[in-house]
Amino acid sequence: MPFLLLLLIALSVDSTAQQRFPMPEFESGYQHPEVSAPEPRSLALEYIDVLVLLAFLSVTSWLVIRKRSRKWILGLVVAALLYFGFWRNGCICPIGSVQNMALSFSDPGYAVSYTVIAFFMLPLLFSLGFGRVFCGTACPLGAIQDLVIIRPVKVPARVSKSLGMFPFVYLALAVLYASTGTGFVICRYDPFIGIFRMGAEFHLIVLGIAFLLAGMFVARPYCRFVCPYGALLKVTSMFSKHHISITPSQCIECKLCSDSCPFGAIDRPVPERAISEMKGKTGHFMLYAAVIPLLMMAGGWALSSSHIFLSRAHPDVYLAHLLIDNPGVMDDTENLDVQTFLGSDRTMESLVHDAEAIQAAFLRGSWITGAFIGLVAGLFLVSQSIIRRRTGYHPNRGDCLSCGRCLKYCPVQK
Protein backbone atom coordinates (compact mmCIF):
# COMPACT_ATOMS: atom_id res chain seq x y z
CA MET A 1 0.00 0.00 0.00
CA PRO A 2 2.61 2.58 0.90
CA PHE A 3 4.42 1.70 -2.27
CA LEU A 4 1.34 2.22 -4.36
CA LEU A 5 0.97 5.63 -2.83
CA LEU A 6 4.60 6.36 -3.50
CA LEU A 7 4.20 5.29 -7.07
CA LEU A 8 1.25 7.62 -7.48
CA ILE A 9 3.21 10.50 -6.11
CA ALA A 10 6.12 9.61 -8.30
CA LEU A 11 3.99 9.54 -11.41
CA SER A 12 2.21 12.75 -10.62
CA VAL A 13 5.43 14.69 -10.21
CA ASP A 14 6.14 16.84 -13.21
CA SER A 15 8.86 14.99 -15.04
CA THR A 16 10.51 18.08 -16.51
CA ALA A 17 12.50 19.03 -13.46
CA GLN A 18 12.91 18.73 -9.75
CA GLN A 19 13.40 15.91 -7.43
CA ARG A 20 10.45 13.86 -6.47
CA PHE A 21 11.16 14.63 -2.86
CA PRO A 22 13.12 17.83 -2.47
CA MET A 23 15.74 17.91 0.21
CA PRO A 24 13.97 18.94 3.39
CA GLU A 25 14.56 22.18 5.26
CA PHE A 26 16.04 20.89 8.47
CA GLU A 27 15.15 22.69 11.66
CA SER A 28 17.94 21.13 13.64
CA GLY A 29 20.62 22.76 11.49
CA TYR A 30 21.63 19.38 10.14
CA GLN A 31 24.57 19.32 7.74
CA HIS A 32 24.97 16.31 5.51
CA PRO A 33 28.29 14.48 5.57
CA GLU A 34 30.81 14.79 2.77
CA VAL A 35 30.90 11.91 0.34
CA SER A 36 34.33 10.42 0.40
CA ALA A 37 35.87 10.26 -3.05
CA PRO A 38 39.46 9.08 -2.69
CA GLU A 39 41.88 10.12 -5.42
CA PRO A 40 43.36 7.51 -7.74
CA ARG A 41 47.07 6.67 -7.63
CA SER A 42 48.82 9.94 -8.26
CA LEU A 43 50.44 10.98 -11.50
CA ALA A 44 53.74 11.49 -9.70
CA LEU A 45 53.84 7.81 -8.78
CA GLU A 46 53.22 6.91 -12.41
CA TYR A 47 56.21 8.96 -13.46
CA ILE A 48 58.26 7.24 -10.79
CA ASP A 49 57.25 3.95 -12.41
CA VAL A 50 58.72 5.18 -15.66
CA LEU A 51 61.95 6.11 -13.89
CA VAL A 52 62.09 2.70 -12.25
CA LEU A 53 61.62 1.05 -15.63
CA LEU A 54 64.38 3.21 -17.06
CA ALA A 55 66.65 2.23 -14.17
CA PHE A 56 65.88 -1.47 -14.65
CA LEU A 57 66.67 -1.27 -18.36
CA SER A 58 69.89 0.69 -17.91
CA VAL A 59 71.24 -1.47 -15.12
CA THR A 60 70.35 -4.65 -17.00
CA SER A 61 72.08 -3.41 -20.12
CA TRP A 62 75.18 -2.75 -18.10
CA LEU A 63 74.91 -6.13 -16.36
CA VAL A 64 74.58 -8.21 -19.49
CA ILE A 65 77.16 -6.39 -21.55
CA ARG A 66 79.79 -5.23 -19.08
CA LYS A 67 79.38 -6.89 -15.71
CA ARG A 68 78.22 -10.24 -17.15
CA SER A 69 76.70 -11.53 -13.94
CA ARG A 70 73.73 -13.89 -13.74
CA LYS A 71 73.52 -13.41 -9.99
CA TRP A 72 72.80 -9.72 -10.29
CA ILE A 73 70.36 -10.33 -13.10
CA LEU A 74 68.52 -12.82 -10.91
CA GLY A 75 68.32 -10.21 -8.18
CA LEU A 76 66.74 -7.76 -10.59
CA VAL A 77 64.29 -10.42 -11.77
CA VAL A 78 63.03 -10.83 -8.22
CA ALA A 79 62.88 -7.07 -7.76
CA ALA A 80 60.90 -6.63 -10.99
CA LEU A 81 58.48 -9.33 -9.99
CA LEU A 82 57.84 -7.62 -6.68
CA TYR A 83 57.66 -4.06 -8.00
CA PHE A 84 55.98 -4.33 -11.40
CA GLY A 85 54.12 -7.53 -10.59
CA PHE A 86 52.86 -7.69 -7.07
CA TRP A 87 53.10 -4.07 -5.99
CA ARG A 88 51.87 -2.34 -9.12
CA ASN A 89 49.49 -5.19 -9.89
CA GLY A 90 50.78 -5.52 -13.42
CA CYS A 91 49.03 -2.54 -15.07
CA ILE A 92 50.03 -0.89 -17.20
CA CYS A 93 52.83 -2.89 -18.74
CA PRO A 94 54.62 -2.48 -22.07
CA ILE A 95 52.91 -5.58 -23.42
CA GLY A 96 49.47 -4.08 -22.94
CA SER A 97 50.58 -0.61 -23.99
CA VAL A 98 50.65 -1.76 -27.61
CA GLN A 99 46.86 -1.68 -27.50
CA ASN A 100 46.69 1.76 -25.91
CA MET A 101 48.92 3.05 -28.67
CA ALA A 102 46.76 1.39 -31.33
CA LEU A 103 43.58 2.80 -29.80
CA SER A 104 45.04 6.28 -29.61
CA PHE A 105 45.82 6.19 -33.33
CA SER A 106 42.31 5.11 -34.26
CA ASP A 107 40.19 6.91 -31.68
CA PRO A 108 40.62 10.69 -31.60
CA GLY A 109 38.84 10.84 -28.26
CA TYR A 110 41.48 8.75 -26.56
CA ALA A 111 44.69 10.61 -25.76
CA VAL A 112 47.33 8.29 -24.35
CA SER A 113 49.17 9.37 -21.24
CA TYR A 114 52.90 10.06 -21.25
CA THR A 115 53.42 7.02 -19.04
CA VAL A 116 51.93 4.72 -21.66
CA ILE A 117 54.11 6.15 -24.41
CA ALA A 118 57.19 5.75 -22.24
CA PHE A 119 56.27 2.19 -21.31
CA PHE A 120 55.79 1.35 -24.96
CA MET A 121 58.93 3.04 -26.28
CA LEU A 122 61.64 2.45 -23.67
CA PRO A 123 61.98 -1.34 -23.91
CA LEU A 124 62.03 -1.17 -27.71
CA LEU A 125 64.68 1.54 -27.77
CA PHE A 126 66.81 -0.42 -25.34
CA SER A 127 66.28 -3.49 -27.47
CA LEU A 128 67.71 -1.63 -30.45
CA GLY A 129 70.69 -0.70 -28.34
CA PHE A 130 71.37 -3.73 -26.18
CA GLY A 131 69.02 -6.60 -27.05
CA ARG A 132 66.01 -7.83 -25.11
CA VAL A 133 67.11 -6.50 -21.75
CA PHE A 134 63.48 -5.82 -20.89
CA CYS A 135 62.76 -9.56 -21.12
CA GLY A 136 65.89 -10.23 -19.11
CA THR A 137 64.72 -8.55 -15.94
CA ALA A 138 62.09 -5.83 -16.02
CA CYS A 139 59.14 -7.76 -17.40
CA PRO A 140 57.04 -9.13 -14.54
CA LEU A 141 55.52 -11.80 -16.77
CA GLY A 142 58.97 -12.95 -17.78
CA ALA A 143 60.20 -12.76 -14.20
CA ILE A 144 57.55 -15.05 -12.76
CA GLN A 145 58.21 -17.63 -15.48
CA ASP A 146 61.96 -17.30 -15.15
CA LEU A 147 61.81 -18.25 -11.49
CA VAL A 148 59.91 -21.50 -12.04
CA ILE A 149 62.26 -23.03 -14.61
CA ILE A 150 63.47 -26.23 -13.01
CA ARG A 151 64.08 -28.82 -15.68
CA PRO A 152 63.95 -27.25 -19.10
CA VAL A 153 63.52 -29.66 -21.96
CA LYS A 154 64.78 -28.99 -25.43
CA VAL A 155 62.13 -27.98 -27.91
CA PRO A 156 63.15 -29.06 -31.42
CA ALA A 157 64.33 -26.02 -33.36
CA ARG A 158 61.78 -26.51 -36.10
CA VAL A 159 58.92 -26.60 -33.60
CA SER A 160 60.09 -23.61 -31.63
CA LYS A 161 60.74 -21.56 -34.76
CA SER A 162 57.25 -22.32 -36.06
CA LEU A 163 55.57 -21.66 -32.72
CA GLY A 164 57.57 -18.47 -32.60
CA MET A 165 55.34 -17.18 -35.42
CA PHE A 166 52.30 -17.06 -33.19
CA PRO A 167 53.30 -13.87 -31.32
CA PHE A 168 53.19 -12.00 -34.62
CA VAL A 169 49.70 -13.26 -35.37
CA TYR A 170 48.60 -12.44 -31.84
CA LEU A 171 50.11 -8.96 -32.09
CA ALA A 172 48.33 -8.28 -35.38
CA LEU A 173 44.97 -9.45 -34.06
CA ALA A 174 45.39 -7.54 -30.79
CA VAL A 175 46.05 -4.34 -32.71
CA LEU A 176 43.01 -5.02 -34.87
CA TYR A 177 40.79 -5.54 -31.82
CA ALA A 178 42.19 -2.54 -29.97
CA SER A 179 41.96 -0.15 -32.89
CA THR A 180 38.36 -1.10 -33.66
CA GLY A 181 37.45 -0.38 -30.05
CA THR A 182 36.48 -4.00 -29.48
CA GLY A 183 38.69 -4.54 -26.49
CA PHE A 184 42.13 -5.28 -25.18
CA VAL A 185 42.58 -8.99 -25.80
CA ILE A 186 46.15 -9.05 -24.54
CA CYS A 187 45.01 -7.84 -21.13
CA ARG A 188 41.99 -10.08 -21.16
CA TYR A 189 44.14 -13.17 -21.65
CA ASP A 190 47.13 -12.15 -19.61
CA PRO A 191 47.74 -15.40 -17.74
CA PHE A 192 49.68 -13.92 -14.82
CA ILE A 193 47.75 -10.79 -13.97
CA GLY A 194 45.42 -12.80 -11.74
CA ILE A 195 48.39 -14.04 -9.76
CA PHE A 196 49.81 -10.53 -9.37
CA ARG A 197 46.48 -9.21 -8.13
CA MET A 198 45.85 -12.31 -6.06
CA GLY A 199 42.44 -12.70 -7.58
CA ALA A 200 40.80 -12.96 -10.96
CA GLU A 201 38.26 -14.93 -12.87
CA PHE A 202 38.63 -18.63 -12.41
CA HIS A 203 39.70 -19.44 -15.96
CA LEU A 204 42.51 -16.87 -15.78
CA ILE A 205 43.89 -18.37 -12.61
CA VAL A 206 43.78 -21.80 -14.24
CA LEU A 207 45.53 -20.43 -17.32
CA GLY A 208 48.22 -18.80 -15.18
CA ILE A 209 48.88 -21.95 -13.20
CA ALA A 210 48.94 -24.01 -16.40
CA PHE A 211 51.54 -21.69 -17.87
CA LEU A 212 53.65 -21.88 -14.72
CA LEU A 213 53.45 -25.68 -14.59
CA ALA A 214 54.35 -25.96 -18.27
CA GLY A 215 57.05 -23.38 -17.67
CA MET A 216 58.90 -25.70 -15.32
CA PHE A 217 59.80 -27.81 -18.34
CA VAL A 218 59.31 -25.61 -21.36
CA ALA A 219 61.14 -22.54 -20.18
CA ARG A 220 59.20 -19.27 -20.40
CA PRO A 221 56.50 -20.49 -22.76
CA TYR A 222 54.58 -17.21 -22.75
CA CYS A 223 57.65 -15.20 -23.71
CA ARG A 224 58.66 -17.49 -26.52
CA PHE A 225 55.40 -18.58 -28.07
CA VAL A 226 52.73 -16.07 -27.08
CA CYS A 227 53.95 -12.64 -26.04
CA PRO A 228 52.96 -10.12 -28.72
CA TYR A 229 55.30 -7.45 -27.41
CA GLY A 230 58.06 -10.06 -27.58
CA ALA A 231 57.48 -10.12 -31.32
CA LEU A 232 58.38 -6.45 -31.51
CA LEU A 233 61.35 -6.91 -29.20
CA LYS A 234 62.56 -9.81 -31.29
CA VAL A 235 62.62 -7.76 -34.46
CA THR A 236 64.29 -4.77 -32.83
CA SER A 237 66.81 -6.95 -31.02
CA MET A 238 67.86 -8.62 -34.28
CA PHE A 239 69.33 -5.31 -35.33
CA SER A 240 70.64 -4.19 -31.96
CA LYS A 241 73.85 -2.27 -31.67
CA HIS A 242 75.25 -4.27 -28.76
CA HIS A 243 74.21 -7.64 -27.47
CA ILE A 244 75.09 -10.08 -24.72
CA SER A 245 77.88 -12.40 -25.79
CA ILE A 246 78.53 -15.79 -24.22
CA THR A 247 82.26 -15.51 -24.41
CA PRO A 248 84.07 -12.49 -23.04
CA SER A 249 86.51 -12.50 -25.94
CA GLN A 250 86.82 -15.13 -28.69
CA CYS A 251 84.77 -18.33 -28.88
CA ILE A 252 87.04 -21.41 -29.04
CA GLU A 253 84.13 -23.70 -29.95
CA CYS A 254 84.58 -25.88 -26.89
CA LYS A 255 80.82 -26.54 -26.92
CA LEU A 256 80.58 -26.19 -23.16
CA CYS A 257 77.81 -23.63 -23.43
CA SER A 258 75.93 -25.30 -26.25
CA ASP A 259 73.15 -26.70 -24.05
CA SER A 260 73.21 -24.03 -21.38
CA CYS A 261 70.33 -21.96 -22.73
CA PRO A 262 66.95 -23.15 -21.48
CA PHE A 263 65.28 -21.33 -24.37
CA GLY A 264 67.34 -22.92 -27.12
CA ALA A 265 68.53 -19.49 -28.15
CA ILE A 266 72.16 -20.34 -28.86
CA ASP A 267 73.17 -20.55 -32.50
CA ARG A 268 75.73 -23.19 -33.32
CA PRO A 269 78.58 -22.65 -35.73
CA VAL A 270 77.84 -23.47 -39.33
CA PRO A 271 80.99 -24.58 -41.12
CA GLU A 272 81.61 -24.09 -44.84
CA ARG A 273 81.10 -27.80 -45.41
CA ALA A 274 77.53 -27.75 -44.15
CA ILE A 275 76.67 -24.90 -46.44
CA SER A 276 77.84 -26.59 -49.58
CA GLU A 277 75.94 -29.70 -48.52
CA MET A 278 72.75 -27.71 -48.04
CA LYS A 279 73.12 -25.60 -51.15
CA GLY A 280 71.01 -27.76 -53.44
CA LYS A 281 68.24 -28.08 -50.90
CA THR A 282 67.71 -24.51 -49.85
CA GLY A 283 68.35 -22.49 -52.95
CA HIS A 284 64.77 -21.23 -52.89
CA PHE A 285 65.68 -17.83 -51.56
CA MET A 286 64.62 -15.88 -54.66
CA LEU A 287 61.52 -17.97 -55.08
CA TYR A 288 60.42 -17.33 -51.50
CA ALA A 289 61.14 -13.63 -51.80
CA ALA A 290 59.01 -13.45 -54.92
CA VAL A 291 56.20 -15.23 -53.16
CA ILE A 292 55.93 -12.68 -50.33
CA PRO A 293 53.51 -10.33 -52.15
CA LEU A 294 51.34 -13.32 -52.97
CA LEU A 295 51.35 -14.43 -49.36
CA MET A 296 50.37 -10.94 -48.28
CA MET A 297 47.47 -10.88 -50.71
CA ALA A 298 46.39 -14.33 -49.62
CA GLY A 299 46.61 -13.40 -45.95
CA GLY A 300 44.62 -10.23 -46.46
CA TRP A 301 42.01 -12.03 -48.47
CA ALA A 302 41.70 -14.90 -46.01
CA LEU A 303 41.34 -12.70 -42.96
CA SER A 304 39.05 -10.18 -44.61
CA SER A 305 36.68 -12.89 -45.68
CA SER A 306 36.25 -13.76 -42.04
CA HIS A 307 35.88 -10.17 -40.87
CA ILE A 308 32.22 -10.72 -39.99
CA PHE A 309 33.22 -13.52 -37.70
CA LEU A 310 36.05 -11.50 -36.16
CA SER A 311 33.81 -8.50 -35.58
CA ARG A 312 31.39 -10.49 -33.46
CA ALA A 313 33.71 -10.01 -30.53
CA HIS A 314 32.47 -6.42 -30.41
CA PRO A 315 29.47 -6.24 -28.08
CA ASP A 316 27.38 -4.07 -30.44
CA VAL A 317 27.95 -6.34 -33.40
CA TYR A 318 27.27 -9.37 -31.28
CA LEU A 319 24.01 -7.94 -29.99
CA ALA A 320 22.85 -6.83 -33.42
CA HIS A 321 23.53 -10.27 -34.85
CA LEU A 322 21.82 -11.94 -31.96
CA LEU A 323 18.68 -9.86 -32.32
CA ILE A 324 18.49 -10.24 -36.08
CA ASP A 325 19.29 -13.94 -36.33
CA ASN A 326 17.29 -14.92 -33.35
CA PRO A 327 14.44 -12.51 -32.54
CA GLY A 328 13.15 -14.99 -29.98
CA VAL A 329 15.75 -13.78 -27.46
CA MET A 330 13.69 -10.66 -26.96
CA ASP A 331 11.37 -12.72 -24.80
CA ASP A 332 14.24 -14.17 -22.83
CA THR A 333 13.97 -12.27 -19.56
CA GLU A 334 17.20 -13.87 -18.34
CA ASN A 335 19.31 -12.29 -21.05
CA LEU A 336 20.55 -9.12 -19.41
CA ASP A 337 22.19 -7.65 -22.49
CA VAL A 338 19.06 -8.01 -24.58
CA GLN A 339 16.73 -6.78 -21.85
CA THR A 340 18.93 -3.78 -21.12
CA PHE A 341 18.98 -2.89 -24.79
CA LEU A 342 15.20 -3.20 -25.05
CA GLY A 343 14.77 -1.10 -21.95
CA SER A 344 17.09 1.63 -23.20
CA ASP A 345 16.15 4.42 -25.58
CA ARG A 346 18.49 3.08 -28.20
CA THR A 347 16.70 2.04 -31.36
CA MET A 348 17.34 -1.04 -33.42
CA GLU A 349 18.30 1.18 -36.36
CA SER A 350 21.03 2.93 -34.42
CA LEU A 351 22.36 -0.38 -33.13
CA VAL A 352 22.50 -1.85 -36.62
CA HIS A 353 24.05 1.36 -37.93
CA ASP A 354 26.80 1.24 -35.29
CA ALA A 355 27.38 -2.45 -35.90
CA GLU A 356 27.77 -1.86 -39.61
CA ALA A 357 30.32 0.88 -39.02
CA ILE A 358 32.31 -1.46 -36.81
CA GLN A 359 32.14 -4.20 -39.40
CA ALA A 360 33.41 -1.82 -42.03
CA ALA A 361 36.36 -0.97 -39.80
CA PHE A 362 36.98 -4.68 -39.37
CA LEU A 363 36.94 -5.20 -43.12
CA ARG A 364 39.63 -2.57 -43.62
CA GLY A 365 41.64 -3.68 -40.62
CA SER A 366 41.52 -7.37 -41.45
CA TRP A 367 43.05 -6.72 -44.89
CA ILE A 368 45.98 -4.96 -43.25
CA THR A 369 46.26 -7.55 -40.49
CA GLY A 370 46.11 -10.42 -42.94
CA ALA A 371 48.71 -8.85 -45.21
CA PHE A 372 50.97 -8.37 -42.21
CA ILE A 373 50.62 -12.01 -41.23
CA GLY A 374 51.40 -12.98 -44.83
CA LEU A 375 54.49 -10.81 -44.76
CA VAL A 376 55.72 -12.41 -41.54
CA ALA A 377 55.12 -15.88 -42.97
CA GLY A 378 57.02 -14.95 -46.11
CA LEU A 379 59.97 -13.53 -44.22
CA PHE A 380 60.00 -16.64 -42.08
CA LEU A 381 60.27 -18.81 -45.19
CA VAL A 382 63.01 -16.62 -46.59
CA SER A 383 64.95 -16.75 -43.34
CA GLN A 384 64.66 -20.54 -43.32
CA SER A 385 66.16 -20.67 -46.79
CA ILE A 386 69.25 -18.69 -45.90
CA ILE A 387 72.13 -20.43 -44.28
CA ARG A 388 75.16 -18.45 -43.49
CA ARG A 389 78.56 -19.44 -42.44
CA ARG A 390 78.88 -18.88 -38.71
CA THR A 391 81.78 -19.30 -36.39
CA GLY A 392 81.48 -19.81 -32.68
CA TYR A 393 78.54 -20.14 -30.33
CA HIS A 394 76.49 -16.99 -30.04
CA PRO A 395 73.09 -16.07 -28.67
CA ASN A 396 70.51 -15.68 -31.39
CA ARG A 397 69.77 -11.99 -31.30
CA GLY A 398 66.08 -12.41 -31.89
CA ASP A 399 65.45 -15.25 -29.46
CA CYS A 400 67.90 -14.50 -26.64
CA LEU A 401 66.13 -13.08 -23.59
CA SER A 402 69.31 -11.70 -22.02
CA CYS A 403 68.98 -13.87 -18.95
CA GLY A 404 72.73 -14.40 -18.55
CA ARG A 405 72.54 -18.10 -17.75
CA CYS A 406 75.00 -19.11 -20.45
CA LEU A 407 77.74 -16.74 -19.32
CA LYS A 408 79.27 -18.91 -16.64
CA TYR A 409 79.73 -21.85 -19.01
CA CYS A 410 82.38 -20.17 -21.06
CA PRO A 411 85.92 -21.15 -19.95
CA VAL A 412 87.59 -18.37 -21.93
CA GLN A 413 89.04 -15.59 -19.81
CA LYS A 414 89.06 -12.00 -20.82
Binding site: P2, F3, L6, T16, A17, Q18, Q19, R20, F21, P22, M23, S28, Y30, H32, P33, V35, A37, P38, E39, P40, R41, L43, E46, N89, C91, G96, Q99, N100, S104, F105, Y110, A111, V112, S113, Y114, V116, I117, F120, M121, L124, L125, L128, G183, F184, C187, R188, G194, R197, G199, E201, V235, T236, F239, P315, L336, D337, Q339, T340, G343, S344
Partner: protein
Protein backbone atom coordinates in the same frame (compact mmCIF):
# COMPACT_ATOMS: atom_id res chain seq x y z
CA UNK B 1 89.20 -10.50 -47.67
CA UNK B 2 85.98 -11.85 -49.18
CA UNK B 3 84.79 -12.72 -45.70
CA UNK B 4 85.53 -9.30 -44.39
CA UNK B 5 83.48 -7.75 -47.14
CA UNK B 6 80.44 -9.86 -46.29
CA UNK B 7 80.87 -8.90 -42.71
CA UNK B 8 80.99 -5.23 -43.57
CA UNK B 9 77.97 -5.57 -45.76
CA UNK B 10 76.06 -7.31 -42.99
CA UNK B 11 77.06 -4.65 -40.52
CA UNK B 12 75.87 -2.00 -42.94
CA UNK B 13 72.48 -3.67 -43.39
CA UNK B 14 72.15 -4.06 -39.68
CA UNK B 15 72.82 -0.44 -38.91
CA UNK B 16 70.57 0.83 -41.67
CA UNK B 17 67.76 -1.36 -40.38
CA UNK B 18 68.43 -0.12 -36.88
CA UNK B 19 68.33 3.44 -38.05
CA UNK B 20 65.07 2.80 -39.86
CA UNK B 21 63.55 1.28 -36.77
CA UNK B 22 64.62 4.14 -34.55
CA UNK B 23 62.95 6.47 -37.04
CA UNK B 24 59.79 4.37 -37.15
CA UNK B 25 59.63 4.19 -33.37
CA UNK B 26 60.26 7.89 -33.08
CA UNK B 27 57.50 8.50 -35.60
CA UNK B 28 55.00 6.35 -33.72
CA UNK B 29 55.99 7.90 -30.42
CA UNK B 30 55.80 11.40 -31.82
CA UNK B 31 52.41 10.77 -33.34
CA UNK B 32 51.11 9.45 -30.06
CA UNK B 33 52.77 12.28 -28.19
CA UNK B 34 51.13 14.96 -30.28
CA UNK B 35 47.84 13.44 -29.28
CA UNK B 36 48.58 12.76 -25.66
CA UNK B 37 47.77 14.19 -22.29
CA UNK B 38 49.69 14.87 -19.14
CA UNK B 39 47.03 12.96 -17.32
CA UNK B 40 46.06 9.39 -16.78
CA UNK B 41 42.86 7.53 -17.47
CA UNK B 42 40.80 5.83 -14.83
CA UNK B 43 37.50 3.97 -15.03
CA UNK B 44 34.25 5.40 -13.80
CA UNK B 45 30.55 4.58 -13.84
CA UNK B 46 28.31 7.10 -15.52
CA UNK B 47 25.37 7.00 -13.11
CA UNK B 48 23.04 8.40 -15.74
CA UNK B 49 23.69 5.47 -18.03
CA UNK B 50 23.84 2.70 -15.44
CA UNK B 51 20.84 0.40 -15.53
CA UNK B 52 21.51 -1.31 -12.16
CA UNK B 53 22.08 -4.67 -13.78
CA UNK B 54 24.17 -6.02 -10.93
CA UNK B 55 27.26 -6.91 -12.96
CA UNK B 56 29.39 -4.39 -11.14
CA UNK B 57 29.26 -6.70 -8.16
CA UNK B 58 30.15 -9.81 -10.10
CA UNK B 59 32.51 -8.75 -12.89
CA UNK B 60 35.19 -6.72 -11.12
CA UNK B 61 38.54 -8.50 -10.92
CA UNK B 62 38.48 -7.74 -7.21
CA UNK B 63 36.08 -9.24 -4.79
CA UNK B 64 34.34 -7.50 -3.27
CA UNK B 65 34.09 -5.17 -6.22
CA UNK B 66 35.86 -1.79 -6.38
CA UNK B 67 32.50 -0.32 -7.35
CA UNK B 68 30.61 1.06 -4.39
CA UNK B 69 27.35 2.79 -3.83
CA UNK B 70 27.85 6.47 -3.10
CA UNK B 71 25.23 8.78 -1.73
CA UNK B 72 24.60 12.24 -3.15
CA UNK B 73 23.14 13.65 0.05
CA UNK B 74 22.07 16.91 -1.55
CA UNK B 75 19.73 14.97 -3.81
CA UNK B 76 18.27 12.84 -1.08
CA UNK B 77 14.76 13.41 0.20
CA UNK B 78 15.66 11.89 3.59
CA UNK B 79 12.49 9.87 3.31
CA UNK B 80 11.28 7.70 6.09
CA UNK B 81 9.99 5.36 3.46
CA UNK B 82 13.21 4.85 1.51
CA UNK B 83 12.99 2.89 -1.72
CA UNK B 84 16.67 2.15 -1.55
CA UNK B 85 16.72 1.03 2.03
CA UNK B 86 13.55 -0.98 2.50
CA UNK B 87 12.75 -4.14 0.70
CA UNK B 88 9.46 -4.01 -1.23
CA UNK B 89 6.78 -5.60 0.89
CA UNK B 90 8.71 -5.01 4.10
CA UNK B 91 6.87 -5.82 7.26
CA UNK B 92 7.91 -2.76 9.22
CA UNK B 93 9.82 0.44 8.68
CA UNK B 94 12.64 -0.60 10.91
CA UNK B 95 16.32 -1.42 10.79
CA UNK B 96 15.69 -5.14 11.08
CA UNK B 97 17.83 -6.99 8.55
CA UNK B 98 14.91 -8.76 6.92
CA UNK B 99 13.41 -5.42 5.97
CA UNK B 100 16.51 -4.21 4.21
CA UNK B 101 17.01 -4.29 0.48
CA UNK B 102 20.77 -4.38 0.77
CA UNK B 103 22.01 -7.96 0.89
CA UNK B 104 24.94 -7.04 3.11
CA UNK B 105 23.15 -4.50 5.31
CA UNK B 106 25.62 -1.87 4.18
CA UNK B 107 23.21 1.05 4.50
CA UNK B 108 22.96 2.73 7.87
CA UNK B 109 19.74 4.51 8.68
CA UNK B 110 19.97 7.32 11.18
CA UNK B 111 17.20 9.44 12.55
CA UNK B 112 17.72 13.17 11.99
CA UNK B 113 14.47 14.83 12.92
CA UNK B 114 10.84 14.00 12.45
CA UNK B 115 10.21 12.62 9.80
CA UNK B 116 13.62 12.54 8.22
CA UNK B 117 16.32 9.89 8.12
CA UNK B 118 19.84 9.96 6.83
CA UNK B 119 21.15 7.00 4.86
CA UNK B 120 24.88 6.34 4.86
CA UNK B 121 26.74 3.66 2.93
CA UNK B 122 29.29 1.59 4.74
CA UNK B 123 31.68 1.01 1.87
CA UNK B 124 33.46 -1.79 3.67
CA UNK B 125 30.28 -3.80 3.41
CA UNK B 126 28.93 -2.61 0.09
CA UNK B 127 29.52 -5.02 -2.77
CA UNK B 128 28.24 -2.71 -5.52
CA UNK B 129 25.23 -4.82 -6.40
CA UNK B 130 23.08 -1.78 -7.26
CA UNK B 131 19.94 -3.15 -5.62
CA UNK B 132 19.57 -0.01 -3.54
CA UNK B 133 20.36 2.13 -6.56
CA UNK B 134 17.52 0.54 -8.44
CA UNK B 135 15.16 1.00 -5.51
CA UNK B 136 16.19 4.59 -4.99
CA UNK B 137 15.94 5.43 -8.67
CA UNK B 138 12.58 3.75 -9.10
CA UNK B 139 10.87 5.15 -6.02
CA UNK B 140 13.07 7.98 -4.81
CA UNK B 141 15.33 10.70 -6.11
CA UNK B 142 18.08 8.51 -7.43
CA UNK B 143 20.54 9.93 -4.95
CA UNK B 144 22.11 6.53 -4.37
CA UNK B 145 24.38 5.69 -7.29
CA UNK B 146 27.38 3.55 -8.13
CA UNK B 147 30.94 4.87 -8.46
CA UNK B 148 34.31 3.20 -8.77
CA UNK B 149 36.19 3.83 -5.54
CA UNK B 150 39.69 4.70 -6.71
CA UNK B 151 41.31 3.76 -3.45
CA UNK B 152 40.29 0.17 -4.12
CA UNK B 153 40.30 -0.04 -7.91
CA UNK B 154 43.59 -1.30 -9.34
CA UNK B 155 42.92 0.53 -12.60
CA UNK B 156 43.08 -2.38 -14.99
CA UNK B 157 44.20 -1.44 -18.46
CA UNK B 158 40.87 -2.81 -19.57
CA UNK B 159 38.23 -2.75 -16.84
CA UNK B 160 36.47 -6.09 -16.67
CA UNK B 161 33.20 -4.38 -15.79
CA UNK B 162 33.43 -1.91 -18.67
CA UNK B 163 33.60 -4.77 -21.07
CA UNK B 164 30.55 -6.52 -19.69
CA UNK B 165 28.33 -3.58 -18.75
CA UNK B 166 25.18 -3.90 -20.85
CA UNK B 167 24.57 -0.15 -20.73
CA UNK B 168 28.07 0.89 -21.71
CA UNK B 169 28.10 2.95 -18.54
CA UNK B 170 31.68 2.33 -17.44
CA UNK B 171 34.09 4.53 -19.29
CA UNK B 172 37.55 6.05 -19.13
CA UNK B 173 37.68 9.45 -17.46
CA UNK B 174 40.65 11.69 -16.78
CA UNK B 175 42.54 11.03 -13.60
CA UNK B 176 42.23 14.70 -12.68
CA UNK B 177 38.43 14.37 -12.57
CA UNK B 178 38.05 10.79 -11.49
CA UNK B 179 34.42 10.79 -10.38
CA UNK B 180 31.10 11.19 -12.14
CA UNK B 181 29.21 11.85 -8.96
CA UNK B 182 25.59 12.73 -9.04
CA UNK B 183 24.78 15.93 -7.25
CA UNK B 184 23.72 18.27 -9.97
CA UNK B 185 20.22 17.17 -10.71
CA UNK B 186 19.89 19.24 -13.85
CA UNK B 187 22.39 16.97 -15.58
CA UNK B 188 19.67 14.40 -15.84
CA UNK B 189 17.78 16.60 -18.23
CA UNK B 190 20.65 17.46 -20.52
Amino acid sequence: MERKKTKNRREFIRSSMRFGMVLALGGAGGLAFRHSAGDKWVWQVDPFKCSWCGRCATHCVLSPSAVKCMHAYDLCGYCDLCGGYLIPGHSARSTAAENQLCPTAAIERKFIEEPYYQYTINEDLCIGCAKCVEGCSAFGNGSLHLQVNHEICVNCNECAIARSCPSDAVKRVRGSAPYLMKGDFSRDQT
